[in-house]
Symmetry: C2
Subunit: 164 residues, 2 copies
Amino acid sequence: MTGVTVRLAAEADCGAIFGLIVALARFEGLLPAVQVTEAEIRRDGFGPNHKFECLLAESETAGRVSAVGLALFYPTYSTFAGRSSLYLEDLVVVEPARRLGVGRKLLAQMAAIAAARDIHRIDLSVLHWNPARAFYEALGAAKIEGWLPYRLQGEALRRLAEEV
Amino acid sequence: MTGVTVRLAAEADCGAIFGLIVALARFEGLLPAVQVTEAEIRRDGFGPNHKFECLLAESETAGRVSAVGLALFYPTYSTFAGRSSLYLEDLVVVEPARRLGVGRKLLAQMAAIAAARDIHRIDLSVLHWNPARAFYEALGAAKIEGWLPYRLQGEALRRLAEEV
């Protein structure tokens, strides 16, 4: 595997993006959790009012280019700071391409995109047991202390919606 | 104060939205943290490719309608679940209008918007000492266990961007 390059994904890459998501889910034993479809990725990532952007890492092996990783992100908004950060929703590097700096290349490209847009933060969440914490910390990311994530869903959300 | 109503904010409400943000920041002693401007709120909330949406709560006192609260949110994206949640960036209720159910009305409207878009989660973050935790828990929101928020910013982010 040589010459890993990173570029913004285009609509023609939806199949490769979906393939990487499915490969990750299979690796994690979470295939049933994949509810997204390739058509939704096309609609939501490449339509006129897209909800996310995606960086794709590709490598060439024996003259054949294949997708080996992706970084999927979207902008967040802060009432105090405005367009304040890019949120890294997922970073995927396929198993044969790990420990080769692909994740770092993806994050570096994302950092460059942030800088070009005058955005000065990349935010993300990591499961507490995930070894990727060491990777993010090596890049200089720091745990944000004091904030607790909450989620409102299911029956509670349905009941609340009915109050309108 | 009677008849609190909630509606989606329009471009003409940018002044009221900015006023509520500044009032909150002043109340919290965080006025210097407000870097966003009214012009940015107009651009980012009401342009063709808006980054957030905003619900506005208004009440009528002696025939005069005034903005008493807001809920500012944006969609998130999940690689496994697609358009999965609305993220509540900020919920503001001005001091004279607290404990009157305004926050609940804002959240109920947001829940109805989520339902109409086939979105089944509202996500948010709360500071661990914030009494608003009890409010969210009373609505049925639950703390998400196991995920740690990380942030990459400042010199570390600048250095990373230079690797491209």
